[in-house]
Symmetry: C2
Subunit: 387 residues, 2 copies
């Protein structure tokens, strides 16, 4: 086990009817900015539950946070906060709205330099406004971590930042808020959580038997409950399991003391940026290809993953069988596993590899994934499945 530090102070308030607890969780004299995305929280009753729970508190809404939240939109919220002297932010939505809140609470307290410096890491966050979240989509884990990804379309950038100052004070996780999600969005959440676990689990092998089993606990539960979600979208137990899995897939715990990969995410981000694929769609394409290219390096863990999670037996090539079983799961959740499934041309291979090459990234738990290996991975992601 490697040395590690773990600290996660987010208060999780989980269950049916818990939005009403906002009254207990937000200071009585707070002036609240309710941050929302599109209109879905207006249509499914969540926004009404929120405003009712705020009681006599002064509040305003700031709506229109987009998927892959944009810097310019966030800065409009920051302006409003400063102008109106708002002192508490409540993010109501999925990972994009929560990610936006993390930037906004830091930028609202930022002085001196360009707020974009927060995202690039050139400015250290010294303080931030307090914020909480009401989660309406089980996927990114942003509700219980200190990370955020902000896009700035005007300069073609999409960058992550992290700071303990932007942990949510609390996150309310009511599984019922996810009943009304489109089926494909729910499925993407399951795949997103799955790949979050694999980025922290499927590295070269080191001695960390507890972390391995904690990752497998999440995977086995997602594997078991994910397909049930497709059949019974209004099953409370299933929604609750998926929600608690997605939160824990990226709250830092399973990554304690182990090597982490994240190359699938970095390559996937470029596919999203270039071709508009949903985040999980990009992951479902890149992951199997990456695992094939890195099969020897990850062999021990791939075989363990196959045996313990996917029920793969030891005959033949168990590492390859684990990759195939992963693809079967992704397809069962309705996602494609090849670039061609989304009509992405072969030219994408060189284009994305060139972008990562120019950025000088060396990805993977051992920094071995360079431009040439990205090219190999994307070629692999273009090979038809029956070959």
């Amino acid at each position: 086990m490697k040395n590690f530090e773990f600290c996660n102070p987010v208060r999780i308030v989980f269950g049916k009817g818990k939005i009403a607890d906002l009254d207990r969780l937000i200071p009585e004299n707070a002036f609240v900015l309710v941050l929302t995305g599109g209109g879905s929280v207006k249509n499914n009753g969540v926004f009404d539950q929120v405003t009712m729970a705020l009681k006599s508190r002064k509040w305003e809404e700031f709506s229109g946070i987009e998927a892959n939240p944009d810097y310019d939109t966030c800065m409009k919220a920051v302006e409003r906060i400063k102008e109106k002297k708002i002192d508490f932010i409540l993010a109501v939505g999925g990972g994009s709205v929560i990610d936006a809140a993390k930037f906004i609470v830091a930028a609202a307290c930022h002085n001196g330099s360009d707020p974009w410096d927060i995202v690039t890491g050139q400015a250290k966050i010294k303080t931030a406004l307090p914020f909480g979240s009401v989660l309406t989509l089980a996927a990114t884990g942003s509700e219980m971590n200190a990370g955020s990804v902000i896009s700035r379309r005007s300069i073609g950038a999409k960058l992550p930042f992290a700071s303990e100052k932007v942990f949510p004070r609390f996150s309310i996780l009511d599984p019922e808020t996810t009943y009304s999600l489109p089926s494909h969005v729910s499925a993407c959440g399951v795949v997103d959580a799955w790949v979050h676990v694999l980025e922290q689990y499927l590295s070269h092998a080191i001695h960390a038997p507890l972390q391995d089993r904690q990752s497998e606990a999440l995977l086995l539960t997602l594997l078991e409950q994910g397909p049930k979600l497709m059949e019974n979208p209004n099953d409370y137990d299933v929604r609750a399991d998926i929600m608690w899995c997605a939160t824990q897939a990226l709250n830092g715990l399973i990554g304690c003391g182990v090597p982490q990969d994240w190359a699938t995410h970095m390559i996937g981000h470029e596919l999203t940026a270039a071709f508009g694929l949903a985040h999980a769609e990009s992951l479902a394409i890149v992951l199997p290809a990456l695992l094939r290219v890195r099969k020897e390096h990850k062999k021990t863990k791939l075989e363990q993953y196959g045996r313990r999670v996917l029920g793969v037996d030891d005959a033949g090539d168990p590492a390859e069988a684990a990759i195939v079983a992963t693809e079967v799961f992704f397809k069962r959740m309705g996602l494609g596993v090849r670039l061609s499934d989304y009509g992405i041309p072969l030219e994408a291979v060189s284009m994305v590899a060139d972008i990562l090459d120019r950025r000088g990234f060396r990805l993977g738990e051992d920094r071995a994934v360079d431009g040439a290996m990205v090219r190999k991975i994307l070629v692999m992601a273009s090979v038809p499945e029956n070959l």
Copy 2:
């Protein structure tokens, strides 16, 4: 899944050499009271590492916190803190020292009523001095939770209290600090952690597949690494696994959204109070007996536990086979599993049952364990193993 709330802000700093990080974790201008138990931290080098890391900070030692920390001892530390205007407490030791610190930091800020009211729950803790811990024994989990058990020998009391105000600010977990523990103490820590998990896992069955698997992850790791600890007490990996398991066995996570039992602990406490058994020794006696008496009620989970953790097959009476396998594990760790293993007479049965009867406790996840059932459990704990 039941509704739940989870919040655990303790910063875990884990690994070899991490005691040096105290310099980063404790405010530079703090006046520190270093709280210790007996002399073991003086003999194994831990105390020297601590005082070196404190650098130029002003500090004093308060030593002599006993196993099952006593109210009167703790109050002496409180007096010293008030007299010297000490403003940071550093607990260096196992669960007893950390439990003592939790009471001391609250009592040092308590005004108005008798500080014993903190322990009885008659006074709410409004504020507490900040404290951190350097853990030297993997067992109780106190290093990452908000609970404490304080004894008051002068009135024959031993009571638990809990408050979010007494979470440690940080806990340093360096597995190397546990190398020098006596073998039986290490073994007791493993059994203590094991029973902490079972109290939250082995209830009647409800739908909580992730929590089940997270509990099983801890059990499988303890089962695998525990016996290795007996053979290779200086194996870093094994010590690290056990330490991280014990912390997570009682940090609140696996108990989220599930019923919890804790009757084994309550009955075990009385055996400890009356006969001086070590905490884990009492648990290893009570648990198998309790599981036998409650076999029908806990059948589904007992069978799952047997199948997934202990490798028990489905033939015959798999619930009973799981209990027997549990006893085998405890004995492998060198603990007894019957009252007679520690020479405790049959009269103990009535005595302990009467005490719990008088207290009017109704124990277990369904409050079904009354005095009569405690009697049955302790009779069961007296039945020779070969019957």
